[in-house]
Symmetry: C2
Subunit: 352 residues, 2 copies
């Protein structure tokens, strides 16, 4: 049986995020990645847009909070609300955030009597690089949600926003994570895309994670990978999707852990031995391989484009080139699925 090759049982994931017609962000990225890794995905699309906003324009529609709730009610009416995990990403406004919170709490409540049988990965999408790209009232809406999530995946800016701590060095980074554990009682935290300057060293990206102890103390680890000199869209969604699957896999590799509330490892487990750390190693290995390949394809595609059109340096040409760059930089997935499934792990979790 082909199914015997999967290291964890059949898994149903409810994924709530955006849909774009062209390219890979939101559910269009996360849904496909999770499915490719052998899990079932029920995708509630919070928006349907022609493309992501990196193209400077997009057409389409946004779902209202009522429409999101309605889709979930439709699932319930058909007894289709049986999920093992949930992933929430970009939501178009505070009321949609609240609606998704209600859905998550409803699912959590159903699973109260079976600890570990439901796990919510929350990506609190609010902004990046110091810039908020949602309305102000989304911030308090997310703050109300986090206490019910099992794993949050803020980037550096979002971690600062929800912790209230400006991250400028290792000390403030640790303080931010400690604060998030304590304030929201959130068991697992991954801060993605940390960029702390270390003069003279090679450029690298770091992610920092922690699973709290019974005393709500952080267990911090870090994984560093070489930076790729290119801005890709949808990498946060790719990270979240891979993390969801790899964490489940890592938890099922430990006796009984999947029946433990929020999959929190016993206090004897060292930071770098946490399932969260093991999962992160595989996630980053896959991402580094896929993005390295994407960069090669991108550069070749742009070279072909420039050969074809030449460089005339008019304003229209520049606008067009910018769009071609966005298009060429879409993550290459469909022919690189082996890199998702069988990554070569080169970057290891280290104490932090």
């Amino acid at each position: 049986m082909a199914e015997d090759n999967f290291p964890f049982p059949e898994t149903r994931v409810l994924a709530i995020a955006s849909h774009v017609v062209y390219g890979y962000v939101g559910n269009t990225m996360a849904g496909f990645v999770i499915q490719s890794m052998g899990c079932e995905v029920a995708a509630i699309n919070s928006v349907q847009l022609s493309n992501h906003l990196g193209y400077g324009q997009a057409k389409g529609t946004r779902a209202t909070a009522a429409e999101i709730t309605d889709l979930y009610d439709g699932l319930k009416a058909s007894y289709l609300d049986e999920f093992d995990m949930m992933l929430s990403g970009y939501l178009p406004g505070a009321s949609a955030v609240e609606a998704v919170g209600s859905i998550a709490r409803d699912l959590k409540y159903k699973h109260t009597m079976k600890p570990g049988s439901f796990f919510w990965v929350l990506d609190p999408v609010m902004g990046d690089n110091g810039r908020l790209y949602v309305a102000e009232d989304v911030i308090p809406a997310y703050k109300n949600l986090i206490k019910d999530a099992d794993l949050i995946l803020p980037n550096q800016f979002e971690a600062e926003t929800i912790s209230g701590i400006k991250i400028v060095d290792m000390v403030t980074l640790k303080l931010a994570i400690t604060t998030l554990h304590e304030r929201y009682r959130i068991p697992h935290i991954m801060i993605t895309s940390i960029s702390l300057q270390s003069p003279g060293s090679e450029p690298f990206l770091a992610v920092v994670g922690s699973t709290f102890t019974t005393a709500v103390k952080p267990r911090l680890f870090r994984v560093k990978i070489p930076a790729i000199d290119c801005f890709f869209s949808g990498t946060g969604d790719m990270f979240a999707a891979l993390m969801l699957v790899r964490l489940r896999e890592a938890v099922f590799a430990v006796d009984g852990l999947y029946e433990t509330a929020a999959w929190v490892s016993g206090d004897e487990v060292a930071p770098t031995e946490l399932p969260l750390a093991k999962a992160t190693e595989k996630v980053l290995a896959s991402m580094h391989q896929v993005l390295t390949r994407t960069k090669v394809s991108r550069d070749a595609e742009l070279e072909r484009y420039e050969k074809r059109v030449g460089t005339r340096n008019t304003g229209e040409d520049e606008k067009r080139l910018k769009l071609e760059v966005s298009k060429a930089t879409e993550v290459r997935l469909v022919r690189n699925l082996d890199m998702l499934k069988h990554p070569e792990v080169k970057f290891r979790a280290e104490d932090f």
Copy 2:
């Protein structure tokens, strides 16, 4: 390079059909299948529903014709309207059918100077088993579209509806296909799910296909497969998706055919040697394997359900059981992708 393993170049498909949150029909089936086979999919979702209508109810929203057109305009504005193939499936009403026709003609027009560089697979979703499940005005809307498509995939009822010929035996089946070729100048036709009773024989399913000659005569072939005693949803979408990919693969295996208008083979090619026939063999092999596996999982799931709840035979129980059957019968895809990619071909095309 992993990409070297793919027997045809990178392929971009525009897929316009429905999205369901739970289960596999429309784009939720076709999009994932096409992606899993290594092609890029841009999915315009014509509806977003909680589940397919086999569950007796569904909640969600339908896109208007204007919203579908708007998404396409968004792609054009970002220069993202470069597609090699298009697949259209369920559309919510006549104006949506017309909107999709305009999109297809726009793409066709762009490719006029490069024969074979754009190919439209049209699944004229109107009904099944003698029952229309769209509004009456959808029929003339589809009739206006078919002349611009390259391959149509009607089921028996839809073939009758657009040809005006009631299919009751081999003679009328051939007449219907001949009529469709002649009336609409449609190059490729596959009639899926033919059920003609042959007394005393084992139950089987047959699909019948044809690619016309330069004289617009049919080249008919048939593939028979053993019937599985179970009603599955989304199999038409699965067939369409696999056919799109396998036809492209078969066309690229023939020197220069991909640069021939509508990929029509020279008159010297026999029916069973057509790329359409070769593709059909692989498509049906994959489907038979996946659906056989699905049936096994379904029966096991229903047995577990019945053990759990017992049989109390109240009205509520019966309603619930019907929903459990629908759920258990959802096609098992995510852990059976090998069957899509590497089917064991057992059923061959034969002259007809």
